[in-house]
């Protein structure tokens, strides 16, 4: 989530009030922005992705002033017609929409230029999803001749000076030579043509989604009037972005002018800062929040969040991107009411508690192993594929992960014994005997499992290592558990590559394979770097639980 830095005195000036530091900190946190810290005149605030309108000082101050009550209610913006046109060529199918505006009579300082660039960049990162959904450009208007064309061109046939370059290069070279070209070229994979803004005198204003032109796309201290374009794949998304930018510039003192955007099938005039209307269902609001607000109170609270109100409808500012449903108003009413002002109530609702019977059972078996002096371990579900296959002398189809950041944890565990052997490997320096156990989920492909095709089974593994660890010890532990469960079983000879031949058994109860028990193969132990014999059993808890449930009936 983006963090922005606000200038305390600028904010105070815009808000029209100075707050003591404690109060300021508290109010910023309770507005729905995350205060990261205050250093001198700098306020660092994290902005949640649903509020891109707070990414500028002006936007933040606008919301803050309403919230603390110095300037509540819907902010009004007037838009004059410029009469200029932007013509959209049907060739821009890769990024079919654009909305534009002019803002005049601005006064730029170094700080403001920097801030405008920053807002534009942060908007493109969040609201524009790293320019994938949309990207925005701001240009000194006086160097541009209208009408402007929004058109896709073959980049090997058009030249311009990208921002920061002092001579013209081929547009196709931008992808290699310009930093923004390299950063965003992945978005444009498969594009044969790229969208350009070109003015009436054939001057290239920008190449999307990369960079403005150095000649017509650089706002500086002498700039008074700016042209803004927001272009992308979603019309609604770019309209909000444009509204956020123009209202910010208007709050800096600029005057907003509209343009006609001429599509092949329609013409739209942008920007439009008319508020949208959402019906305010007061009983619904009160029910969700547990309040008894009157209409008057609710309207006042809406005003604190920058909304207007008329005839039962909330008027939503045009720069708000996040109001999808009435519940979004409810949240804003709650914020204005103050989260800290809600009472804490535990209602007397009779519900019957229930612990998962399977978990109760699993923990009960675990208790028996604790009684035998075993320590419970707690390992990851993820493990190196090599450890559970090659190291165990076994070929199993372990389920793999796509590009895990932690390379040594690249698969889901297929069985528990490798995880516990790995624990012993890390504990060679500690006192022996070492007796451990763990119940954990293991994973295997199984087409019979709906939706995922992956079966998850709970296994219980007990393991012992010391100079005299042997088959008898493992079988004794297993026998102790089965006697406690009152479940008859037999151990049948079997073969398993991870165990010493002739010292491994399959455990059968009521005709089902429910466990195996044995002494680990010395080759396996050596691969793990273990220096003492290891015996273990691994039990299918799901199977045992099912058998016992069956028996209960």
């Amino acid at each position: 989530m983006p963090t922005i830095t606000l200038n305390k005195s600028v904010i105070e000036n815009l808000v029209g009030k100075k707050l003591p530091l404690d109060k300021l900190k508290d109010r910023i946190s309770m507005l729905g922005t995350d205060l990261e810290g205050i250093e001198g005149d700098k306020i660092h605030v994290e902005i949640f992705p649903n509020r891109p309108d707070l990414l500028s000082e002006q936007g933040f101050a606008r919301a803050f002033a309403a919230f603390i009550g110095t300037k509540p209610g819907l902010r009004q913006y007037t838009i004059k017609k410029s009469g200029f046109k932007v013509i959209v060529d049907p060739s821009v199918s890769m990024r079919p929409y654009t909305v534009c505006a002019l803002v005049k009579n601005l006064t730029f300082t170094d700080e403001r230029v920097r801030e405008i660039m920053q807002v534009q960049e942060k908007l493109a990162t969040t609201h524009g999803r790293n320019r994938k959904k949309s990207a925005y450009g701001i240009y000194p208007a006086d160097t541009i001749t209208f009408p402007i064309q929004y058109i896709a061109k073959d980049p090997t046939k058009i030249k311009f000076k990208p921002l920061g370059f002092h001579q013209e290069i081929l547009a196709s070279e931008v992808l290699e030579r310009h930093p923004k070209g390299r950063e965003y070229r992945h978005i444009t994979e498969g594009w044969k043509k790229y969208p350009f803004f070109i003015d009436a005198k054939d001057k290239v204003m920008c190449m999307l989604p990369f960079t403005n032109s150095n000649d017509t796309g650089k706002v500086d201290l002498h700039t008074k009037n700016v042209f803004i374009e927001c272009s992308g794949i979603d019309l609604q998304n770019i309209q909000v972005a444009l509204n956020i930018i123009v209202t910010t510039l208007a709050d800096m003192g600029g005057e907003i002018y509209s343009l006609d955007i001429v599509y092949s099938n329609k013409t739209i005039t942008t920007p439009s800062v008319h508020p949208t209307k959402i019906k305010l269902d007061l009983p619904y609001v009160n029910k969700r929040l547990g309040l008894q607000l009157t209409e008057k109170e609710a309207v006042k609270l809406l005003g604190r969040m920058g909304y207007g109100y008329a005839n039962g409808f909330a008027l939503v500012p045009a720069y708000r991107a996040d109001i999808l449903h009435q519940v979004d108003l409810i949240e804003d009413i709650a914020i204005a009411y103050g989260y800290e002002n809600f009472e804490e109530i535990i209602p007397h609702v009779a519900t019957i508690a229930e612990e998962s019977p399977f978990d109760v059972f699993k923990n009960r078996i675990g208790q028996y192993l604790v009684g035998l002096g075993l320590l419970e371990t707690n390992t990851y579900h993820l493990i190196d594929k090599e450890i559970q296959t090659t190291w165990m002398k076994l070929k199993v189809e372990a389920i793999e992960l796509v590009d895990p950041v932690s390379q040594e944890y690249n698969s889901l565990r297929y069985w528990m014994i490798p995880s516990l052997l790995h624990v012993l490997r890390e504990n060679k320096q500690h006192e022996y005997p070492q007796r451990i156990f763990e119940s954990g989920t293991v994973f295997m492909h199984d087409k019979a499992v709906e939706e995922t095709g992956i079966r998850e089974v709970m296994r219980l593994c007990a393991m012992s290592t010391h100079p005299d660890a042997d088959f008898t010890e493992a079988k004794q532990m297993l026998d102790y558990v089965f006697r406690a469960l009152d479940l008859p079983y037999e151990v049948v000879e079997t073969e398993h590559a991870s165990f010493i031949p002739g010292r491994v058994g399959r455990v059968v109860a009521q005709g089902k394979n429910v466990a195996f028990v044995g002494e680990l193969h010395p080759e396996v132990l050596q691969t793990f770097g273990l220096e003492m014999p290891v015996c273990a059993f691994e039990l299918n808890v799901n199977e045992i639980f099912a058998l016992l449930q069956e028996k209960e009936k």
Partner: protein
């Protein structure tokens, strides 16, 4: 009085050893005098020292004894003496001497050098060696070396205990091959303290003082009238360890207990989920940054595996695209069905809440449900990040539930976890509105600590899953911070390190 008290605590071994410590004594002297084994004497003086009755002074010394050749020479005589004996009748060549007295060729060299220095031999024609008068005298004298060999054959000796002559002989023999063996040892000298001197004067009768209560004594009743030796109850005893639950699971059991006590039912579900259940049912937009590879662990080798969608997906699709019947505008972005089928490891246990809502029957209302389970993120592991960790989720599905109830439940939970002060701040999650960030006040750090997210599920989540718009309070809380804080763990990796020493020593979860 104080003497009696001390005397009562004396072990029979201490009683046997104490009278033999006149003022100072070595261990060996005490072994001789008390007729006890070395271990018994050492244990006794250690205990006496613990009671401040003696002090033990440890000095490193060199102990000398006989090596292989030394042992042989102590029986058959030094080679130089045997050399002289061989030539006492007539001069002999070296070969003849070797044959005659069984002196080795190597020893011959040493002998010639030595005896020439003594002036005991001289060389005659044909390389024969003859004895001189001095040699004859030497043959009848006992050399200091011979004395020393004789003594060392009986017992090893401390270098510092040698006489001057013995010491010179020792220095000479030390240079020769495998005659003398030196071992560094520590000599303990025991000295009585002032208390010890007084005690030593008292006659310590061990009779009548019982060391152990035996089954025999109980059977016969012979314990009656006997005094049992008093133990030093302050003494450190050797550590023992036993089996136990993993410390994090102990905490988890307690956390489950809290929700159960509040009347919640436990929800269960799988770790492997489709993207559909994990994210789409929760109204997370398809272009949400969290869906990108760096945050989510997807399943597959090379390419992401795809699962199948349940029939309910059509409703969810409508809600995303246009809001469906929820009264919402929806995200108004195109829906990619392939994206939904991606298999992943659940990124939050909130997916279980969504699945529970989908399977909830009307008669189960009002319902309260919780789960404490592992969730997964594709993150690099370091001291504060793991790719696998616990989260606690809860939902309250109740026609009359309000934001105030949400605050009530969370306050109650954190209170029982040891954090009575809970604060709620506005936050943003795609699936809740209002959304709440839950902070608790850390009583030691004296600051607010973020512990989880909460809110009321959006109608866009509830209506397609449940069929109607009922308020659903929901929360997803992290546990790692609370659990590691309780156990004083600063590196979060220690939660799953399984260091057996740490597991054996770790304190129990004591909150009740």
């Amino acid at each position: 009085m104080i003497f009696n008290k001390i005397i009562n605590t004396l072990h029979p071994l201490e009683r046997k050893v104490l009278p033999h410590i006149a003022k100072h004594a070595t261990i060996s002297a005490l072994i001789d005098a008390s007729k006890l084994s070395e271990t018994e004497v050492i244990r006794a003086i250690q205990w006496l020292s613990n009671k401040n009755i003696v002090t033990i002074d440890v000095r490193p010394v060199e102990l000398i004894g006989l090596d292989e050749n030394g042992k042989a020479y102590s029986k058959i005589g030094l080679p130089e003496k045997r050399f002289l004996k061989a030539i006492s009748a007539k001069p002999l060549s070296q070969q003849e001497i070797v044959k005659h007295e069984n002196v080795t060729q190597e020893e011959i060299g040493v002998c010639i050098g030595l005896l020439k220095r003594y002036g005991a031999i001289e060389f005659k024609e044909e390389m024969k060696i003859a004895i001189t008068d001095a040699g004859k005298a030497l043959l009848t004298t006992v050399l200091p070396e011979e004395h020393l060999l004789e003594r060392l054959a009986k017992e090893s000796r401390n270098v510092s205990a040698l006489t001057l002559a013995e010491k010179e002989a020792y220095e000479r023999l030390k240079r020769r091959k495998e005659i003398i063996k030196t071992t560094p040892i520590k000599v303990r000298t025991v000295t009585l303290t002032a208390l010890g001197e007084k005690l030593a004067k008292i006659k310590l009768d061990a009779k009548g003082i019982q060391d152990r209560l035996t089954p025999q004594m109980l059977k016969e009743g012979s314990w009656k009238g006997k005094t049992f030796r008093h133990y030093d109850v302050k003494i450190n005893v050797p550590k023992i360890t036993g089996g136990k639950r993993h410390f994090e699971n102990q905490a988890l059991e307690y956390i489950k207990r809290i929700w159960l006590d509040l009347g919640f039912k436990e929800m269960k579900g799988s770790y492997v989920q489709t993207s559909f259940w994990d994210l789409d049912t929760l109204f997370v937009p398809q272009d949400h940054p969290a869906r990108q590879m760096q945050d989510t662990l997807y399943i597959g080798s090379g390419t992401i595996e795809r699962g199948k969608l349940p029939p309910i997906y059509k409703k969810i699709k409508e809600v995303h695209e246009k809001g469906g019947n929820t009264g919402s505008m929806g995200w108004r972005t195109p829906w990619n069905e392939d994206e939904e089928k991606k298999l992943l490891l659940r990124t939050h246990t909130t997916v279980l809440s969504a699945q529970r809502l989908a399977s909830l029957k009307k008669e189960e209302l009002p319902g309260k449900f919780f789960n404490a389970g592992r969730v997964f993120r594709n993150e690099a592991v370091d001291w504060k990040h793991l790719f696998e960790f616990y989260q606690v989720d809860g939902i309250v599905v109740d026609e009359n539930a309000t934001l105030k109830h949400l605050k009530g439940y969370l306050r109650c939970f954190f209170g029982k976890m040891g954090y009575p002060d809970v604060r709620m701040r506005p936050a943003y999650f795609p699936y809740t509105e209002p959304s709440v960030e839950v902070d608790v006040f850390h009583p030691i750090k004296k600051e607010w600590v973020e512990l989880g997210g909460a809110g009321i599920f959006r109608p866009e989540v509830v209506i397609p899953l449940l069929g109607k718009d009922v308020p659903v309070l929901a929360w997803g809380l992290g546990l790692a911070r609370i659990v590691s804080g309780y156990y004083n763990i600063t590196d979060i990796r220690d939660l799953y390190k399984n260091d057996l020493k740490q597991l054996r020593e770790m304190k129990a979860w004591m909150r009740v």
